[in-house]
Symmetry: C2
Subunit: 213 residues, 2 copies
Amino acid sequence: MKLYGYFRSSAAYRLRIALNLKGLAAEHVFVHLREGAQHSADYLALNPQGLVPVLATDDDAVLTQSLAIIEWLEETHPEPRLLPGSAGERARIRAIALAIACDIHPLNNLRVLKYLAGPLRIPEATRDDWYRHWCDVGLAALETQLAREAATGRYCHGDAPTLADVFLVPQLANARRVSVDLARYPTLLRIDEACNRLPAFADAAPARQPDAE
Amino acid sequence: MKLYGYFRSSAAYRLRIALNLKGLAAEHVFVHLREGAQHSADYLALNPQGLVPVLATDDDAVLTQSLAIIEWLEETHPEPRLLPGSAGERARIRAIALAIACDIHPLNNLRVLKYLAGPLRIPEATRDDWYRHWCDVGLAALETQLAREAATGRYCHGDAPTLADVFLVPQLANARRVSVDLARYPTLLRIDEACNRLPAFADAAPARQPDAE
């Protein structure tokens, strides 16, 4: 398998964690997003979306979208389970992941920040407010949900890491980069700390990647 | 089952299509997003995210996030399959849905347009440009992918509707509302037309809902 990623992409970070949790190795190909490598003809031929991550499988399938790739990993390498339990439990785990993947992360993506800076001429401090705003809106709702639900355990769902944690930890790393006050989210911080004690999470951190700046 | 939705929410529209394809009935509860009903204490107690759709199941589970809910429907009511085929085929179908759910729709959500209009004081014409920009970026990549891949059939994946179509049709309806030039996406238009010939899609359209304005 070949994983096309970038150290700072939180979508690629999710996939690094998932591969580590499953005990799977992939060859890493670095796509330098800040230098625009995702817009090269070669990369667009691979993924017309021009986004990372991409997983090229051993039988030459090209998979895109971090959640679709992780669902594929779960189906092809079921253990340890990232989506354990009943259909209802799996729905809860997926909903936590999607609250991040759909309602926080896309608003703070590099291409969106560039559009705010370019066509909309929004100054940097206001762009940082935008970033923090969407982090806060999303993380506050997650904190409320996780703090009140009995299904929350040492991790987002129970006492083993799941897909929900795979999405939470990279999002909190992004939030720290723009100085979101995470003390308001004690449940999320507690889970983040528990995750980062596991090598699967710690080894996937942006700063530990070979392409880190 | 109770579906909390809003006629114009494209995330709720996805769920209406999925329920119709599965032949399932739900009681519809209308959450008037333009009037802010999603911010009421009662609704936030149900879903701290303050978003639609929510599906309250017959055994009192409260499910959020349209994709998580549809995956739950697929697991609890497998036929007809919205995610057919091998793990690789399922990854392709999910990736098409996620390219819409993560990379187009969140940028054009009502709350985002409100933030652009309010704190950022972006005028309406420029907000419409923003909306069209993210539609075009996302739809152009989907057009390229669907036009070149042999797995594309009468619908996004093969000759029966799947999860990918459930996400595509509401997104194209949104794009039409801001006059995106869809003639550039002939494959998407062809699939949209095929879908809308099916009652499951046609009956789920915003204009046909009891709360439509």
